[in-house]
Amino acid sequence: MPLKKTLLYPFYVNSPYFEGYAWAVELALRMKAKLQLFTSTTIPSGATIPADSIYHSLLEAHGYYLEHYKNPDIKLSDISRKPNITNGLLKDELISYLRKNRVDIVIIDPLFLSAQIKEIPEIEKQAKGLIFLPERKSFENISAQPLTDHFYDVLQRSELYKLPENFFVTMGNDLTVFNYLRKFFQKR
């Protein structure tokens, strides 16, 4: 039996990360992968955020996912996500984690990218695959679009690095992608 894929989404809890989180959850669902939520109690300014605030925030983020992405045909219990809350500097902890653990895809949102721009080459070196999510304006029409269209719009605008071939096979097996692609052919 093939191993379940692991996706990892690093974030700072004091940044507006809900949209990136929700998209990462949706990707994990479609890939039938586990999602690691990676953060630290230490934020870039050096201040500390209590762990219970982070847990509350993650639960709140999931409320955002339910409101904007939740497909009524999908059971919530199908979503596998696990928080990994460290205490040190997030960039160092993340690189150390990637060196020691198998992570198939790291999902980087623009806010994390701008905070950790110098560490990106090292993260890219350690990660098996990377998805850089597009700028926040790409998420602005989230409520106006059908769920699937929005998910694939964001994927289309993301930058993908070192993704394994089976990623595209998995996405191709997702039947909802055909409805999305068909719209392009209908427009021509």
Partner: protein, 205 residues
């Protein structure tokens, strides 16, 4: 003003059954913190409480179609959460569960918070008996216990809600706990069914 804020839980559930995602998000947002706090009251560990809260919330919202409205949604949700925490206790003795205040543990048991597996199972049974007795209490006493221990309301809030003094709130809680302890002792001696069958005798006045 967000119209959902003035919508009742039952109206939100009806909307959720029509695949309204906003209603789903609103209902979830109303309760996730309380569910987390309830799980934390069992485990006293943030990470374990988060895992249990996630699972309990997912279980409830995946089965929201089975909510019949015989109780309030909050009671239904907290019942699922409570049972989920107890099931985790039975399944995994690595969870350290702490009772509510005024528990009936002996001094030795109070000093040893890490029971062996067989003691953990026995404790789960004890919790189930206590839960059955709480359900059988008069509504006023049950509601007070729910407000204080399930929903985590402070004495100050209860004062305001019930329009009585803080010492009166504490006295009512104390009497109810003492009554529960007495009922528990009777249940152990004569059996839970016997006690539930004659609960009116014990709870009158």
């Amino acid at each position: 003003m967000n119209i959902l804020l003035i919508t009742s839980d039952e109206e939100l559930i009806a909307a959720i059954r029509r695949d309204d995602r906003k209603a789903l998000g609103e209902l979830y947002n109303r309760y996730y913190k309380k569910v987390f706090n309830k799980c934390y009251s069992f485990t006293k560990k943030q990470e374990e409480a988060f895992d249990l809260a996630q699972e309990a919330l997912m279980k409830a919202f995946d089965n929201i179609h089975s909510f019949k409205g015989e109780s309030s949604f909050s009671t239904w949700l907290y019942t699922i959460t409570h049972r989920h925490c107890l099931a985790a206790l039975k399944k995994n003795s690595r969870f350290q569960f702490h009772r509510l205040e005024e528990n009936i543990l002996s001094d030795d048991e109070k000093n040893d918070p890490t029971p062996a597996a067989e003691e953990t199972s026995e404790r789960a049974e004890q919790e189930l008996i206590m839960y059955s007795l709480i359900k059988a209490l008069p509504e006023r006493e049950r509601d007070l216990l729910n407000l204080k221990y399930l929903q985590g309301e402070s004495i100050e809030n209860l004062q305001t809600q019930l329009n009585i003094s803080g010492s009166a709130v504490k006295m009512r809680l104390k009497r109810t706990r003492e009554k529960l302890n007495m009922l528990y002792a009777l249940s152990i001696t004569y059996g839970l069914d016997q006690v539930l069958g004659q609960i009116d005798l014990f709870t009158a006045g």
